[in-house]
């Protein structure tokens, strides 16, 4: 196994375990306040690994619960965008003609909007909560994948094994799902893995701007927000969530890059 993939997957598995067993990993109740003067803004200590925030809540525990948010936003948003991208890209590349033109025009329109502002606008209308964040990120990030899948389909549909299947009366749906799609998946996996990192970043940014997960529910993004006012004398409030976001996004990117390396030569070999 590729070293980058191994490293990335190890980190992601650890994070996933932390997210699933958050209640066991957390040392405190993430919502428990301690408004006493000595309880607020404590530095890292054996009692509070990552210190406490301005309301005296344990930052470590809040981040543990925040892992749930970040990972589920990443995975679910990308899942939504993959389903849409694969379907539209596949239809577009396989059938061509006016269907293709129509879908490609929609993709171009999607590209014309600055995605982040689009997301912000939609969230403002629909209301800021985690489900909306996932769905909206998913609905706005499929355009690149759609183009990628379309390009793969365009080349694969001219391969002789597809011609052969057509001659033998194989249905369009079966050709798409059995013959073309499995051969088009390698770049899709790579792109999807890379977008998980991207989605996590968008969620953090939204939460940072107060448009994502609403307080008091902890997310890496809103812990950062809370910390930004105290950055001069409580570095731990911004440092730990920042590092967590960095490591997570980096891990997904490493997996993506590793997959790219691993899957590409195999593709050319099997040609």
């Amino acid at each position: 196994m590729n070293r980058r993939i191994t490293f990335g997957i190890t980190i992601i598995i650890i994070l996933a375990l932390v997210a699933i067993f958050a209640s066991f990993v957390a040392t405190h109740d993430p919502l428990e306040l301690d408004l006493s003067l000595e309880g607020r803004l404590q530095g890292p200590s054996p009692e509070h690994f990552f210190g406490t925030d301005n309301l005296g809540r344990d930052v470590f525990s809040r981040m543990v619960y925040g892992t749930r948010i970040s990972l589920s936003v990443g995975f679910i948003a990308v899942f939504i965008s993959m389903v849409i991208g694969l379907f539209l890209g596949g239809v577009s590349g396989y059938f061509g003609g006016w269907v293709d033109s129509l879908i490609m025009r929609i993709v171009e329109v999607m590209y014309c909007f600055p995605t982040f502002f689009l997301i912000m606008m939609v969230i403002t209308f629909l209301g800021a909560n985690i489900v909306n964040v996932m769905v909206v990120i998913g609905l706005t990030s499929w355009a690149g994948l759609c183009r990628l899948v379309r390009a793969e389909f365009l080349t694969l549909r001219e391969r002789d094994f597809v011609h052969s299947a057509k001659v033998q009366g194989v249905s369009d749906m079966r050709i798409i799902f059995r013959h073309i799609l499995p051969n088009a998946m390698a770049p899709v996996y790579v792109s999807a893995t890379l977008s998980v990192g991207g989605a996590i970043l968008v969620e953090s940014a939204l939460s940072f701007l107060g448009l994502g997960v609403q307080v008091p529910t902890p997310s890496w993004g809103n812990i950062l927000t809370a910390g930004k006012n105290y950055i001069d004398y409580a570095w731990w409030l911004t440092f730990f969530p920042g590092v967590a976001i960095l490591i997570t996004v980096l891990s997904f990117n490493l997996i993506g890059e590793g997959l790219r390396e691993k899957l590409d030569p195999k593709l050319s070999e099997s040609r």
């Binding site: 002789d160 194989v170 249905s171 499995p182 040609r271």
Partner: protein, 242 residues
């Protein structure tokens, strides 16, 4: 049998913003021939002469612009490049068995059919049924492609340069195999090649194609002993002597 009557197929390059070239390419320009049941028609020509377009027209991958194509019975096709004609992510069993699967046959019937076809092309089914195409050599892959094309029991088989990418001794094996299969299953072949020697070896009748039209149709014997068309003579001259 197969009958082609004045078949035409033009390709119209899409007029793009940057290209002014709107001329259509006459890939097939009025081609007629008949192949009786159980016989082989050899179609010879250089690359770009339209012979592969004819193959695609006969099996229905392309529709003719005008003219008529009559085929009695099922048609199937074997392509030149056995590296692109087999789905790299399907096992040999799935590849050969697919036509049976989509016609709704049961698992054990499919398996029996696949085994029978692999034995027809002289591959040991037990050894290859669960393997993937990249684990085979070019010659073996071509045998697999032939097995797949035979599994629906077609009456007509179009062979589009089936041996052109193979080494000479592998080529000989495949040519012999195709002759055996034809005899056994009483198949009608359209054999497409750029190599006159191969066409002559395989065919009962031959057509020489140039720029979308047939310049000469005759028996192989007539073609090599008394070629009528200048282009045929030119092709004959280019064959390396042994």
């Amino acid at each position: 049998m197969i009958e082609l009557k004045n078949v035409k197929k033009y390709f119209h390059p899409r007029r793009g913003i940057f290209s002014s070239d709107g001329d259509s390419v006459k890939a097939v320009d009025g081609v007629s021939f008949t192949v009786p049941r159980g016989k082989t028609f050899g179609l010879v020509g250089e690359s770009g002469c339209g012979k592969s377009t004819i193959a695609k027209l006969i099996v229905g991958i392309l529709e003719p612009d005008s003219g008529e194509i009559k085929c009695q019975g099922n048609t199937d096709i074997v392509f030149q490049d056995p590296f692109s004609s087999l789905n790299p992510r399907m096992t040999i069993g799935d590849i050969v068995g697919e036509p049976l699967f989509i016609s709704g046959q049961k698992r054990n019937e499919i398996k029996a059919g696949v085994k029978r076809m692999l034995s027809v092309v002289k591959l040991r089914s037990a050894e290859c049924i669960d393997k993937y195409p990249h684990q085979f050599s070019g010659g073996e892959r071509q045998r697999i492609a032939i097995a797949r094309s035979l599994v629906r029991k077609p009456h007509i088989l179009v062979l589009d340069e089936p041996v052109s990418s193979l080494d000479v001794s592998i080529q000989a094996g495949i040519l012999n195999l195709l002759k055996d299969i034809q005899e056994e299953m009483y198949l009608t072949y359209v054999f497409i090649t750029h190599d006159l020697r191969v066409a002559e070896f395989m065919s009962d009748a031959m057509g020489v194609m140039k720029e979308g039209t047939l310049v000469e149709v005759a028996s192989p014997r007539e073609i090599y002993s008394s070629p009528k068309d200048g282009y045929t003579r030119q092709l004959l001259d280019s064959i390396p002597k042994l």
